[in-house]
């Protein structure tokens, strides 16, 4: 070792360290700055058009008369139907995987398959929905066809979130129930599910908020863009907020762009409300336990 040539260059190394730290800090701030710019931009563009009339009128070719009533109602219908399809299916699948599935190749296949489905692009679900629900099952271009498609899309997320919630239930609760002579289902129904429910509900609401922001799969199944009436049954044709936003944003006129911004503000408020509900629900149910 020729120690006399060793120079720790501490000053330079510390300087590099500081530069690196600030670069990483800048990267973190960049994402947040973008979020702020996006929110400010959309709100300032859309605020002028936001009014009660905008919420209660139907779409129109004249910007000043256009509204999003049919889109809001369509989104609410879509939310309700998607929830009632994906929640029981997703929770059922999660219970099966966590509590019943034997440790064999088929269970592993189920689990891998769910992980892979979560990565399939949403537009591919649109192709599936178009072929299976719209044509093969004959649902036509209805709310039901859209909700069935979106349910398949969010199902992996609901399953994975529910599995995590179920897995977090302590073993002692299960063993206590078995010790009192409960069957497996009694144990799940009365011990596991009540404890896991806050987590399951949070996961479901978050995945629903993803569903109501989805545009591509609904365009695929042919959700019409000009709908001047609200859906009256699951078989009605429909439009939803993201589709109305896409429709207005893809027109060249600036007035329509501002309408799109106003509709975006409404959509973001709905999403925010859903997220807040998820958090409140979680806290409340947690307190009751």
């Amino acid at each position: 070792m020729n120690g006399e040539h060793f120079s720790p260059r501490l000053a330079a190394r510390r300087r590099n360290g500081t530069i690196f730290k600030w670069l990483c800090f800048g990267a973190t701030i960049f994402a947040i700055v973008m979020l702020v710019i996006l929110l400010v931009d959309v709100t300032s563009d859309g605020l002028r058009w936001l009014s009660i009339d905008f919420l209660t009128r139907y779409p129109s070719r004249i910007p000043a008369r256009a509204g999003i009533k049919s889109a809001i109602l369509g989104t609410l219908w879509m939310m309700g139907l998607t929830a009632s399809i994906s929640f029981p299916l997703g929770v059922g699948a999660a219970i099966y995987l966590e509590e019943y599935a034997p440790a064999n190749w088929f269970s592993r296949l189920l689990q891998t398959n769910i992980a892979n489905l979560a990565g399939v692009p949403s537009i591919v679900y649109g192709i599936l929905g178009l072929t299976v629900f719209v044509r093969f099952f004959g649902f036509q271009r209805s709310v039901l066809a859209g909700a069935a498609t979106l349910s398949l899309l969010v199902l992996p997320v609901v399953i994975i979130a529910s599995q995590e919630a179920i897995r977090a239930v302590p073993r002692s609760l299960r063993e206590g129930a078995y010790g009192l002579g409960a069957t497996r289902w009694q144990m799940i129904r009365h011990q596991v599910l009540p404890v896991a429910m806050p987590g399951i509900l949070t996961g479901t609401i978050l995945s629903l908020s993803r569903a109501i922001g989805e545009t591509a799969p609904l365009i695929m199944i042919g959700a019409l863009t000009f709908i001047a009436f609200p859906p009256t049954s699951p078989m009605s044709p429909f439009t939803v907020l993201p589709i109305q936003i896409f429709n207005w944003a893809s027109r060249p006129q600036a007035d329509f762009h501002d309408l799109a911004a106003a509709a975006i503000v409404v959509l973001l408020v709905i999403l925010l409300a859903m997220n807040a509900t998820a958090i409140l629900l979680r806290n409340r149910l947690r307190k009751q336990l």
């Binding site: 360290g17 296949l109 399939v120 591919v124 599936l128 069957t183 922001g213 893809s250 999403l271």
Partner: protein, 310 residues
């Protein structure tokens, strides 16, 4: 004597037991069916894409489809070469990676190695909000804010250009890279860091030469997942990047991605069952195969190369 008492006990319990078993069995069955839905979804996707594409490939040769450099199914001179659409998709994937991978990793490093608990608590929800914004909103953002900036900096650029789409998709996938990479970085045990400090490394050396290499598999997996997401992204690129399939490496031209093409056809009046209509299944199949392979690759990397500490 004893045996007979035991026997009678069992016999008197038989009915409720039998009923219980029936209930338990049927619940098991119903729950299994719920799980089966996800398998049926995969089977449905594969069957739909393959059977409908088969009709397409009866009329257009696979070689022509995969190697042709012109895509014009809607013109009288029909050409079915998917390369221009792949080109468009790759430009978006490349451009968005240039933005999201370094920024996402940088913010993951900051959050995992430098930030205080308080900062982390405030920044992570903001990233989650960014991840939860619908893609059509990002499309609006690209069209009305990013595109005008690009057109000021590079005069002569059209309204629709790849750069605007790539930038916005990049912003969209930052939270994914950041959160998955952060998980990988924080999983590196303290002892490794302590050992590096012990032989005189500075913090930046510990981070870049010990922590990041040690979590490389997780970081790489997050990169692949994010790129796969960029490839499948639809609404933002449909709104911002245009509808002109072409072979180009320029970010300032209008392009068309595979996803944007599928949207374009389904918005139009193309009749069901025609060759033009079937193109969306062939393009969808290519899209599905690419994203599936990338997801499998990412899982494989996580499984194979995960460093086991403990």
């Amino acid at each position: 004597m004893r045996g007979r008492i035991a026997d009678s006990l069992v016999a008197s319990d038989l009915t409720p037991h039998g009923k219980r078993r029936l209930v338990e069995g049927s619940i098991n069955g119903v729950l299994f069916l719920c799980g089966l839905v996800s398998v049926l979804t995969t089977v449905g996707i594969v069957v739909v894409l393959i059977t409908e594409s088969a009709g397409f490939f009866r009329e257009v040769s696979i070689v022509e489809f995969l190697t042709g450099t012109q895509w014009s199914p809607m013109y009288s001179d029909q050409q079915f070469g998917i390369l221009p659409l792949l080109n468009g998709t790759l430009i978006i994937a490349l451009g968005s990676s240039l933005i999201a991978l370094p920024i996402g990793l940088g913010s993951a490093i900051y959050l995992s190695e430098y930030a205080s608990e308080g900062v982390r608590k405030r920044v992570k929800p903001a990233l989650e909000v960014l991840a939860g914004i619908p893609t059509v909103v990002y499309g609006y953002f690209a069209l009305t804010l990013i595109t005008p900036v690009i057109r000021t900096v590079f005069p002569g650029t059209g309204i629709f250009n790849a750069a605007s789409g790539a930038i916005v998709v990049g912003i969209m996938i930052i939270p994914m890279v950041s959160s998955l990479s952060e998980d990988a970085l924080s999983a590196v045990p303290r002892s490794l860091r302590a050992a590096a400090y012990g032989i005189g490394a500075t913090k930046v050396e510990v981070v870049t030469r010990v922590v990041v290499p040690a979590s490389l598999s997780g970081v790489a997996a997050s990169f692949i997942l994010a790129i796969s997401r960029a490839i499948g992204e639809t609404m933002a690129v449909t709104l911002a990047a245009g509808a002109t399939p072409r072979m180009t490496l320029s970010f300032l031209e209008s392009i068309q991605t595979m996803t944007a093409y599928i949207v374009q056809v389904s918005l139009g009046e193309t009749p069901h069952g025609t060759l033009e209509y079937r193109t969306i299944f062939a393009v969808g199949l290519v899209l599905f195969v690419i994203t599936l392979l990338m997801n499998l690759l990412s899982q494989q990397i996580t499984r194979r190369f995960r460093e086991q500490y403990e």
